[in-house]
């Protein structure tokens, strides 16, 4: 049984981490497909997804889970949600704000409109809230989570309720209260109210900004409250043994560098890396064949350059894989469970391709 197959069997959540371009989204998708094929009711949550992959599998970019229909996968076994920044905030606000008037006020608020595409790190946060929602629904045996391509994802995994520092009464009231007070007492009283943060904001960004922000926060209270609750519950779930961390990498210098950093960060968070997935490994028969390449072989003509590149890549790959294993063993004291995935010679980003990759992962 492959390591991926074992994770699928034993875990309730599989979180895929890794640098950009290592095949995280593709791998997470293939793992979810493999799980669904094996009979598990599976949900795939993808943040910052590849549109082409989504299109290939007919997955809409929406906050809602939609069913993915693939040959060999039983109906009702594979659902996916692929979230990108544009869809996420509107969907979340609409879902969490029960009062229609308040919801409309938020959606039409100047701050919201100007910036709802720009809510930077909130995307990850929202995705975690979505994850919690999926877990609470108890509809699924396994949830596979694809994370955004940088280690910021780890910040949120470490502390899903990080916004509570801002929103839990203290800071929020620092901003809102003085505004109300200032309306009553006049703006000169703003600083005297002793709320340093509000005063600071006003000085830097103008009273109107403070007003705008205060209004916005009042409107958002209910929505934010929902996020916070989700964050706390999720923190507990993510620490359980039934949550697996899968770090994805390729044998390229920058990916290997990021991989080491991510494994180390997981360790600092008190979590283990359950699986190291190394993508784009050159198949042994190709690696053997290219060793016969000779420098300056003029019979190769225009093919010379790409064959040389392949030869150099194969040599580098082998070296980097060894370097990665040695470094991680040194760091952790033991070898990480590792699965190597060959660079495929079919188009992965098609429904047939994903099925084949799923098979390759979970044999």
């Amino acid at each position: 049984m492959s390591l991926v197959a074992r994770l699928i069997n034993e875990k309730k959540i599989i979180i895929c981490l890794g640098a950009g371009g290592v095949g995280k989204t593709t791998s997470a998708t293939a793992i979810a497909v493999a799980a669904a094929k094996s009979g598990k009711r599976t949900a795939l949550l993808s943040i910052d997804p590849a549109k082409r992959l989504a299109a290939a599998l007919n997955i809409k970019l929406s906050f809602e889970l939609t069913e993915v229909k693939l040959p060999g996968v039983l109906a009702g076994h594979l659902f996916a949600t692929m979230i990108d920044q544009k869809t996420i905030f509107d969907d979340m606000v609409i879902k969490s704000t029960k009062d229609g008037k308040i919801r409309d006020k938020i959606l039409n608020h100047s701050l919201y409109k100007a910036a709802s595409n720009n809510f930077g790190g909130a995307v990850e946060y929202m995705a975690l809230a979505k994850l919690q929602g999926i877990l609470e629904s108890k509809r699924f045996d396994l949830v596979v989570v694809d994370t955004p391509p940088d280690a910021h994802a780890l910040d949120f995994l470490a502390k899903p309720n990080i916004l509570s520092g801002f929103m839990d009464g203290k800071v929020m009231s620092w901003v809102i209260k003085p505004f109300h007070l200032a309306q009553k007492l006049g703006f000169s009283k703003l600083f005297a109210a002793g709320e340093r943060l509000a005063g600071g904001l006003a000085e830097v960004a103008g009273i109107k900004a403070l007003q705008t922000l205060a209004e916005f926060l009042v409107l958002m209270q209910e929505t934010i409250g929902g996020f916070n609750k989700a964050g706390e519950a999720l923190e507990k779930e993510l620490a359980l043994k039934t949550t697996a961390y899968c770090v994805v990498t390729t044998p390229r210098s920058s990916a290997v560098r990021s991989c080491k950093v991510i494994v180390e960060q997981l360790r600092k968070m008190g979590r283990q890396t359950d699986l190291l997935l190394v993508n784009r490994v050159i198949k042994p028969d190709i690696a053997e064949s290219i060793t016969h390449y000779k420098e300056g072989d003029t019979t190769l003509g225009e093919a010379n350059a790409c064959l040389r590149a392949l030869r150099d890549t194969a040599v580098l790959n082998a070296g980097l894989i060894k370097d990665l294993q040695d470094s991680l063993t040194l760091l952790l004291g033991n070898q990480l469970p590792t699965q190597y995935v060959f660079d495929q010679t079919f188009d992965i980003h098609s429904s047939e391709g994903v099925m084949l990759l799923a098979q390759a992962l979970a044999e």
């Binding site: 950009g20 371009g21 910052d48 946060y125 103008g206 190769l300 064959l307 890549t313």
Partner: protein, 309 residues
Amino acid sequence: MLDVYELLDRRIVFVTGKGGIGKTYIAANLAQLAAARGKRVCIVENRVDDQIAPLFGHPPIGHKITELLPNLYTINLDARENFRDFVVKHLGFESLFERVFNTKIIKSFIRMLPGIAELTLLGRLYHMTALAKQPFDLVILDGYSSGHFLNLMTTPDAVIRSGLIGPVLEETKRLRSFINAPGNSAILLVTTAEPLVMSEAMDFLPQIINTGLSDLKGVIVNRYFDDVLTAKDLARVIQTPGSPLKTAAEFCLWRYGGNRGQVEKLKALIAKVAPDGIAISTLPDFGVVKEPLTAVSSKQFVAELRPFA
């Protein structure tokens, strides 16, 4: 053909594109070229894991301007430090900052409030090349891909429209003017000819142009081999009886197959959305990038950068 030297005469160059396709390598080489011409250059990244310093054989440096080679500096900007620098150095509110902001609040602020991290990053780039006591001739920003890069480009306008007044608004207008002024900044989009990567680049390209903040000066297609050119010779290797390179050649045929067609698609898109044209250049797959980077690498970079016909 991308006029690399014209690009390097600008004050801020943004190198963007999907993760893992060679942005950092290209940014690093551009920086070396500029430094070799006597410019004081800083490569800026904003990542959890330093990528630039290690590429030059240097241990990770974090939020500290560090010299890697003569005239060539780097820094890995941290969002919290940016925020502090923006309020203290840029806006001049040191005592206010010390009174009001502590680490926990800053962290939450940056997370929750739209655009703060992006605004302060742009503020830093502007400061480094225009306002600092010893300004850099050129600042190259590496590491912002797709969605995050678009956020960055749209942040100044978002702040200007949002109803903020006072120092932050004034500063935002100033930095927007600077970045937008002709010849001051440029964007370089990096992609490969792999269908997944190229389709994202093609999705992304019109959106970059629409942000209207900076000039998209060129697209570099990295790890490119012209499959049409190589097909005959690869086929010959494959058909030669008993050739030990057969399997390897078949793989190359697969890997680079369709490359030229993909770039033609890109070219057609550019003709549609950018009538003034955007230079498309290609770089081959080098297989191995010798680390640490040296002058040899940037010579190879310039020599191998070709215009796409």
